[in-house]
């Protein structure tokens, strides 16, 4: 029982991170219908920027985090402005490939600049733990879940109540109609990239926090979080968190129980378990659990 509880709490903490990463995919996809394969590199770059401001420059952690978010937002803007804007109206596949190319370049730039050594990002929570209902929980995990909840709530309010949130929703439904009623679609595109990049910074920090460390391999987490975004539905922020938790808990449970109950499945089953779950969901619901099916015309 304790073990199950332990695995569940770990799964939820992992799921919260996946949810944050998936939110980054959703923010961009919802407004611009681009899937950003470079999101993992955004996480990586965000985490390294925090590290640079905090450990190298010597700023307090929270100041460093805020500065890094601003810097990443600027990067998101630059990417949209210089690359993605030229790709508007081109096939989805071509656009996705542009982000893959960008991902390759960014990953190598980070690796060349920072090297392959593992680093400690220097967050204020460290390795401390608390005991909740008999399960040992890292403080970082609690903070992760809390921060994710706050972020999702903030985005929910933003989408429902703010002028720009409304503009983003309108753009997501129909670009041309949005343009016709005077919504600055270009600004909306830029804004969604900036928000996604800033969110990636937060995800990157939690990803690099205890028990993990900061290293260029971090960028691959995006591939583990893809299923989360797909399961939830690529255009649903609420789906992102549901998908994230589902994938996170599945992964942890498989990791915890598979070696004992199904050892014949071999190694690293938990890595592919999320993809199996994703394919199963897609067979039943081709646009994910909460995604909107597209209506097509001739």
């Amino acid at each position: 029982m304790t073990e199950l509880l332990q695995l569940l709490t770990q799964g939820i903490a992992l799921g919260a991170i996946y949810g944050l990463v998936a939110l980054g995919f959703v923010l961009i996809y919802k407004a611009t219908e681009v899937i950003n394969f470079a999101h993992g590199e955004f996480l990586l770059l965000g985490a390294y920027t925090v590290y640079a401001f905090h450990a190298v420059v010597g700023l307090p952690f929270y100041v460093a985090a805020v500065l890094a978010m601003l810097a990443m937002a600027a990067l998101g803007w630059a990417v949209e402005r210089s690359l993605l804007r030229r790709m508007i109206g081109r096939p989805t596949f071509s656009v996705a490939m542009v982000t893959i190319g960008l991902a390759i370049v960014l990953r190598q730039v980070v690796a060349a600049a920072a090297g392959y050594d593992d680093r400690v990002i220097g967050d204020p929570w460290g390795a401390s733990t608390v005991t909740l209902a008999g399960a040992q929980v890292n403080v970082v995990s609690l903070v992760t879940v809390g921060a994710t909840a706050v972020l999702f709530a903030a985005f929910f309010v933003f989408f429902r109540r703010s002028k720009y949130g409304l503009a983003m929703r309108a753009t997501a439904i129909d670009h041309e109609a949005a343009l016709a009623v005077g919504i600055p679609v270009r600004q909306v595109y830029a804004l969604s990239w900036m928000l996604a990049a800033a969110t990636a910074t937060v995800g990157g920090v939690f990803l690099a926090a205890f028990p993990a460390t900061l290293s260029p391999a971090l960028g691959f987490v995006a591939f583990r979080a893809f299923p989360a975004a797909i399961v939830g539905g690529l255009d649903s922020p609420g789906g992102a968190i549901v998908g994230g938790l589902l994938i996170g808990v599945t992964e942890m449970l498989v990791q915890g129980y598979q070696p004992r109950f199904a050892p014949w499945l071999g190694n690293d089953v938990h890595v592919v378990a999320s993809y199996v779950l994703m394919i199963a969901v897609l067979v039943v619901r081709p646009y994910g659990l909460f995604g909107t099916p597209k209506v097509e015309r001739v």
């Binding site: 030229r86 989805t92 490939m97 190319g101 690529l234 071999g266 190694n267 081709p286």
Partner: protein, 362 residues
């Protein structure tokens, strides 16, 4: 009756393989050039061409699927691996000749591709891309764990292409000539690439290819005019997987030893890069693209003495050769997509038009 060059009045003229009489001359010259190549180039460059030919077969397959039918696939590496391991099992463990294992590898790939096909019918665009991405991870997992066939993380040996006692990678011994392995393998692979190109070209210009392109350009409209969308999507997957698996079998046989890491996501990305750089929706473009992508690391390597590179063993980062290679890959993909979406084939077509219409080209 003489008509102006390039004016076509019948459909048959448009789909003809060699459109002008002079094209026959070019093809003959090309064949002679291919036959003479091993005598002219040294082994290192022959190896580049052999890798190109193997990659081109895979790239043609991906182009049939992505370029002609418009189905996004990041799962090509999985089918490449499937072919390599099938070749290893049939040719190595069961000691079957190449005439069996090469088609069999292709067929295994095609069957798995056909099994994946129904997903393609149900999923659209980028959702399909991510499912095929999942395929790569599932494949890596399977390759790691099916030790009986794949040898696990250490990988396994893949046999030379043999027919009975004749090793096609060592034709010199048979013919009593002084042929190196590279030269012999080149003579083995070149006809295969020609066959693969010709077959793809025939598919592309025939009824199936037209249906593929109709599905790509607008699915619903294609269905309205009577194209069985589901059938052609599944067929495209099967065909593309056949090419990929055959390419993988040849790759394995050429490099002799493969590990699961030889078939990771980066391989898929490389194939997509070949299609994009070469030219989406063209058969000969895939060969250009393959040559370009295979050649690139060699060129960077040749240039390395004049580049400000960090030492190769540097664990602390810095600009190493590997880093530079990858950065150039990335920049190329982005650059071609943003600036030259038609790829090398597009540049080639423009050049040709320029000279054909000279001196009135603009």
């Amino acid at each position: 009756m003489s008509r102006p060059e390039g004016l076509r009045t019948r459909y048959g003229e448009h789909t003809r393989l060699l459109r002008r009489r002079v094209d026959r001359l070019w093809v003959a010259l090309l064949l002679v050039a291919i036959a003479a190549t091993p005598a002219v180039l040294d082994d290192a460059w022959l190896s580049v061409l052999t890798f190109t030919a193997i990659a081109a077969i895979g790239a043609i397959g991906l182009n049939l699927l992505t370029g002609f039918t418009g189905q996004v696939s990041l799962g090509h590496a999985f089918f490449i691996g499937l072919g390599a391991y099938t070749a290893g099992y049939l040719g190595g463990d069961l000691r079957l000749p190449v005439l069996v294992w090469l088609p069999a590898a292709g067929l295994v790939g095609a069957l798995v591709g056909l099994a994946i096909g129904p997903f393609a019918v149900r999923l659209k665009g980028i959702y399909l891309g991510i499912v095929t991405l999942g395929l790569v991870f599932l494949g890596e997992y399977a390759f790691q764990n099916l030790r009986v066939i794949t040898g696990g993380p250490q990988g396994r040996a893949i046999p030379s292409p043999r027919i009975g006692d004749v090793d096609l990678a060592d034709l010199g011994a048979l013919l009593g000539l002084d042929l190196s392995r590279e030269q012999s393998f080149f003579y083995f692979i070149a006809p295969l690439l020609l066959a693969a190109t010709l077959f793809a070209k025939n598919v592309a210009r025939g009824r199936t290819g037209r249906a593929f392109q109709a599905v790509r350009d607008r699915e619903i409209a294609a269905a309205v005019i009577g194209v069985d969308v589901a059938r052609y999507k599944v067929a495209a997957f099967g065909l593309s997987s056949f090419y990929a698996a055959a390419s993988g079998a040849l790759l394995g046989s050429y490099v002799r030893h493969v590990t699961p890491a030889s078939f990771d996501l980066f391989v898929s990305v490389q194939f997509v890069a070949m299609v994009i750089v070469g030219g989406v929706g063209t058969v000969y473009g895939s060969i250009f693209g393959a040559l370009f992508i295979v050649l690139l690391p060699r060129v960077v390597e040749q240039l390395s003495p004049i580049l400000p590179l960090a030492s190769e063993s540097s664990a602390g980062g810095g600009l190493t050769l590997a880093v530079l290679n990858q950065v150039i890959y990335g920049l190329l993909i982005v650059g071609f997509l943003v600036a030259e979406p038609l790829g090398l084939a597009g540049i080639w077509a423009r050049l040709r038009l320029y000279f054909r219409t000279w001196p009135f080209s603009y």
